[in-house]
Symmetry: C2
Subunit: 348 residues, 2 copies
């Protein structure tokens, strides 16, 4: 293979003129005579000339590439955020290289290195659920390589970020359960060291408090953010002497797994157990019953993250804006009890 594409030199030689003239003509520099300009541009079109970004990059010291690291690729949540980023990136003539950490710290570190090797100008990342050490990010900061976090952030680092108000959202979910007659509200949380876990748990506790319920320790379980662990967590909840009448999953993956397990126990949703998820995946409306969930402004999150990234490039290290976006509870069937009276008798 190795078919060289047309270069400025090729065009210049073919026309018997200098490279710089060709270069100028192609950018419509007024110093070049109109006739020559046209002649050059025509030849360029015929020869299918595409400027070599490597040469440009070398010269200008920029690759026009942003590295994005997400915990996984198959979740609508991330895909949608990435779309938002691409939108903004494209406007600025930037490309995005996506890497997935698969929720693994090792793979995350590796991705950072790989992306750096391929000379992205900076990174936009949502940390993996395992991430509890941060040297790989500290190196970036030390070298003044632009870094932006979204959704899951490293709170101890002074880095711009886009997140949602998880505490507020979780509080509202808890209240929503309460208003639907639930009194034994369980919460399946994620790893404690993640900001999203911490915030949502805080909101859950606050919600209980505001509703005058006290925390039943058995109803607060922690698990890793995968379906298997969520299944186990749910099983644990369903094996309690007094089972919960509501379960709140820290995200939709957890909620889907919980739903499966609840069905396996032949417990009707929402009447015996109401269920709510978080992030509002596409499949929320496919499952039966449709899952109530907390929607995230994903496109906007992506756009804002990209915007912060470019600000970061312009303003340099001092920049560390932290953006917090609101969410909205979308009520579907999984959380609205038809038989509120029956449920009310279960009040503890």
């Amino acid at each position: 293979m190795k078919k060289r594409l047309t270069s400025l030199k090729d065009l210049a030689e073919e026309l018997g003129i200098s490279i710089s003239t060709v270069s100028r003509a192609l950018k419509n520099n007024p110093m070049i005579s109109p006739e020559l300009t046209i002649k050059i541009q025509e030849l360029a079109a015929i020869k299918n000339y595409i400027p070599n970004p490597l040469a440009m990059g070398l010269l200008k010291q920029q690759t026009k590439m942003i590295g994005v690291i997400v915990p996984d690729l198959v979740t609508h949540f991330y895909s949608s955020i990435i779309s938002g980023m691409e939108e903004v990136a494209k406007e600025k003539g930037y490309y995005i290289i996506i890497a997935s950490s698969n929720e693994s710290l090792e793979k995350e570190k590796e991705s950072v290195n790989n992306l750096l090797k391929s000379r992205v100008e900076g990174l936009i990342v949502c940390i993996s659920q395992q991430t509890n050490s941060f040297e790989h990010f500290e190196i970036l900061i030390k070298n003044e390589i632009p870094l932006v976090f979204f959704d899951r952030v490293v709170e101890s680092l002074e880095v711009p970020s886009v997140t949602v108000d998880g505490a507020e959202a979780a509080k509202n979910v808890t209240r929503h359960f309460y208003e639907n007659g639930c009194r034994r509200i369980a919460y399946i949380s994620g790893p404690e060291h993640l900001n999203i876990s911490k915030n949502r748990k805080e909101g859950y506790l606050k919600g209980l408090q505001e509703c005058g319920l006290k925390l039943i320790p058995d109803l607060l379980v922690e698990c890793n953010l995968n379906a298997e662990e969520a299944t186990l967590a749910t099983r644990k909840l369903l094996s309690l002497n007094q089972i919960p009448d509501a379960i709140f999953g820290i995200n939709d993956t957890i909620a889907f797994a919980a739903m499966k397990e609840i069905k396996k126990h032949k417990l009707p949703i929402p009447d015996d157990i109401a269920l709510v998820g978080f992030t509002d995946e596409f499949h929320s409306t496919v499952v039966e019953p449709a899952l109530t969930s907390v929607t995230h402004p994903t496109l906007q999150m992506g756009r804002e993250a990209a915007r912060l990234f470019f600000e970061c490039i312009e303003k340099g290290k001092s920049f560390a804006e932290k953006l917090i976006l609101p969410t909205k509870l979308v009520v579907r069937e999984s959380s609205v009890k038809r038989l509120q009276k029956k449920t009310m008798q279960n009040v503890q």
Copy 2:
């Protein structure tokens, strides 16, 4: 910003030696004395030296980047295929840039151009459902830019590809329905010009034939590959005088939408209508009842596609291997009728 990273020159100057010596030492060239080599490598480590891929690319005329275009990003099917590609690419030191066509021909063309501009060495693509003109691919072929298709291919072009045996799979689905007592087997197909539509439809017809059923034209509907159209198609099927006792969706997205619509009509699945999808999305087991589907060897498809790509790079234009992989029918609840006898009475 614009913090230049350490270059060979920086290292050379710091040690008061020549650039070429540094370059050689860093690749353990035996011509450099061991002491010097060690000294240089140590400094490189301290200074966090990373070779500049732009410079290398310019020199060697290769970017080590592969462009991948998929119809969408949020489907497990594509994500998983991409994982397979990345695996193989990584072994060869290549990176993947992903672009999504969003099932639009316009966006697909745009993606081809953008990826070319960013100088990927070639493309691996699954065409959009709208794609019915191919100039944007013909240009690639003319310029001898490596191109590989997967899943949905342009059959008129001599290009290496990885697909599955859709005809065989669809035939098996039809037989499976038959063996479960279904006699009015409907098929929701995709756009006629797509190879996957054509193959699967062919398999469906062959299956009917082998089972001694004749095609009921009303039961064969065509739609675009999105949930809305699938809903309409299903509605049409359910409004027939004699409704089908089985529906086969050309993919899982279609099947999910059909499932929703069937439920809306309060028709029990699978007893009144059996349902089978294609591609076996992750959520097949989340829906109720769990969806019978045709699994694809997605990881393998990705790996093979990448492998073909590299062969393409090595062997040049003449290479056009067409790989066809087998699938497997995974039977779940949505297609196994418990009340076969009752259903048998419905035989047309």
